[in-house]
């Protein structure tokens, strides 16, 4: 077996994922695959859906599409889905690195708390991978709804001897800095893997370095069948986690279903983004731009329809590395807004040439943006989505779907008042509360507690996004 840094690291989440398949018979896996395909057809094809909703016998409608539907296997699918979701939780936990890099780990925990509160249901399922590598510059797909507004494809990072050496060194640096949390990394962002013909070589290196074959998501699964089948072969060989095809049209759904058997796609989630599908697109990037124009039009006509919205597809709380531009960014998901139209914050940006440079740049971003504690000079301003209201003997913080009351100690009301003003430095708050008779340790603990739970606003100041 080829190895980059000795033995392949153990991967807890992948072990759990492999067990899903090892514990089931081929017949059971086939039944699950056909139920999965039925679900894809139902969710992605309006005509198919109407046939079912119109009273057509599901089994017969499915059969016409080559699907062997047996509703008695639904429980089998439920169990499979539940186990898949357990793997998702393990992937999230795999990003912990409190021992290897406690400062980064605490920052990621704060971002996780913030996202869970700020983004609602979506925030709760984001796994917060610690790093993503772009192996191209731009994307050739050009979807009108691209939530990260990927630019045009300008080039790719080829697997030349020099680049391969750099890549392996960078993987080594990532492991050094973050330990097995590096397993959460993946190799696309505002890029499509199929734009880089050497992509399979890079992700196989990634597997040997970290113990995880990163998830692949492509919107062009049929562009080069040899490429796609290589990805599927790597999946079969290492079987770490599910891949995904983004389905942008009903024709693509039809063609993908015609090209691959249900069994071949059991390890591939189809992300249904075609207009006929039941899913909504995230309102970020170009989709947000388009929606804004539509809303302006609707408002001009006297009405605006607003439904439940997913406002980001970003998932990384950590580092975004573009290998073509040799650019490093520190990012974390947020609701798309005028300030952060792509649905993620960029805390800082650096450039690098060598793996050593990258290590220094990562360490610099950690030092610059990940304070370990609140200090006297920090302005105590709570997150914008957190409301702060007076209650008897204290104050209550409330956000999307949570509330927290802080009361019952000397100075609690004054603390709430000063936090509400959002302009006082922590040292100033401590002094005021001391004068009011508050316990100095209790106040310090309260301020640090708000910080550690991600309630203090750490949105970078405008103008500090790049090269700060």
């Amino acid at each position: 077996m080829r190895t980059l840094h000795g033995t392949v690291p153990h991967n807890v989440a992948a072990d759990r994922y492999r067990a899903i398949f090892a514990l089931r018979s081929p017949a059971e896996l086939s039944a699950i695959a056909h139920l999965k395909r039925f679900g894809e057809r139902y969710a992605g094809d309006n005509g198919f859906r109407q046939e079912i909703l119109g009273g057509g016998a599901a089994e017969r409608v499915a059969e016409r599409h080559g699907i062997d539907l047996d509703p008695s296997h639904a429980a089998l699918y439920d169990a499979y889905s539940t186990e898949l979701n357990a793997c998702r939780v393990l992937h999230q936990q795999a990003g912990r690195c409190a021992e290897t890099n406690p400062r980064f780990d605490a920052w990621r925990q704060r971002q996780t708390c913030r996202c869970a509160a700020e983004l609602g249901a979506i925030g709760g399922v984001i796994t917060h991978p610690i790093i993503a590598f772009e192996l191209s510059a731009g994307c050739s797909i050009g979807c009108w709804f691209c939530a990260v507004s990927a630019g045009r494809l300008k080039g790719s990072f080829a697997y030349t001897p020099d680049n391969a050496a750099l890549w392996r060194e960078i993987l080594g640096v990532t492991l050094d800095l973050f330990g097995n949390a590096a397993q959460t990394g993946f190799c696309y962002w505002a890029t499509d893997p199929s734009d880089n013909p050497d992509y399979p070589l890079f992700i196989e290196d990634f597997y040997f370095a970290t113990g995880n074959l990163p998830q692949t998501t492509t919107a062009a699964p049929l562009r080069d069948l040899g490429f796609t089948r290589t990805i599927l072969r790597l999946y079969d060989e290492y079987r770490c986690f599910i891949n995904r095809f983004s389905i942008t049209s009903l024709k693509l759904l039809n063609d993908v279903h015609a090209t691959f058997t249900p069994e071949e796609l059991l390890g591939v989630e189809l992300v249904l983004l075609n207009p006929e599908s039941l899913t909504h697109k995230a309102l970020a990037g170009r989709a947000r731009d388009a929606q804004s124009k539509k809303r302006d039009l609707a408002a001009a006509r006297g009405g605006v329809a607003v439904g439940p919205e997913q406002t980001t597809i970003a998932c990384v709380s950590g580092f975004l590395v573009n290998m073509v531009h040799r650019r490093l960014q520190l990012v974390s998901p947020t609701s798309a807004s005028d300030r952060w139209p792509l649905g993620y914050r960029t805390y800082g940006e650096r450039h690098f040439e060598t793996a050593g440079d990258l290590r220094s740049a990562i360490e610099d971003l950690i030092a610059s943006h990940m304070p370990q504690e609140i200090t006297s000079s920090d302005v105590m301003c709570l997150r914008e989505d957190v409301r702060n209201e007076r209650i008897p003997s204290g104050f209550e913080l409330a956000w999307n779907d949570g509330r927290l009351a802080i009361r019952g100690f000397s100075g609690a009301s004054l603390l709430g008042d000063m936090l509400r003003e959002g302009k006082h430095r922590a040292g100033e708050i401590q002094s005021e509360l001391m004068r009011a008779g508050a316990d100095v340790l209790a106040t310090a603990c309260a301020l640090q507690g708000l910080f550690e739970r991600g309630l203090v606003n750490d949105d970078p100041e405008p103008g500090t996004r790049a090269g700060d």
Partner: protein, 117 residues
């Protein structure tokens, strides 16, 4: 560290103007530890964290109410469950989220990375 020193510190803070004056405006545990050590208290930031867990207003059940879903934040750990149906999305087949029948889709939420293209 000395548990006795921490207890002595907590007691002295109530009565020693000199100590209080030295701690005025200090909020970082590292700053507080530094001041306390110069005043003869052998404590560490870990001691203060432990004290915070036991005494801080957010974590003391008697002083704090976690009224609803804020419990996720109180746990100081990442959510241990993906809570896939929290947004009103009910998958057709279990929690896997292939076919949302109600509410917005969660099937396009990245498991690990990006999909929306």
């Amino acid at each position: 560290m000395s548990k006795a020193d921490l207890e002595r510190l907590v007691r002295d803070i109530q009565t020693s103007p000199r100590l209080l004056s030295a701690l005025e405006g200090k909020v970082a545990f590292s700053e507080i530890v530094s001041v306390c050590r110069t005043h003869g208290y052998d404590i560490s930031t870990d001691d203060l964290r432990a004290y915070a867990l036991a005494q801080s207003p957010e974590l003391n059940d008697e002083q704090l109410d976690a009224i609803s879903a804020g419990t996720t934040l109180l746990n100081a750990e990442v959510p241990s469950s993906p809570q896939l149906s929290a947004g009103g999305s009910i998958p057709l087949f279990g929690a896997g989220g292939i076919v949302p029948l109600v509410g917005r889709s969660i099937s396009s939420v990245p498991l690990v990375g990006f999909s929306d293209k």
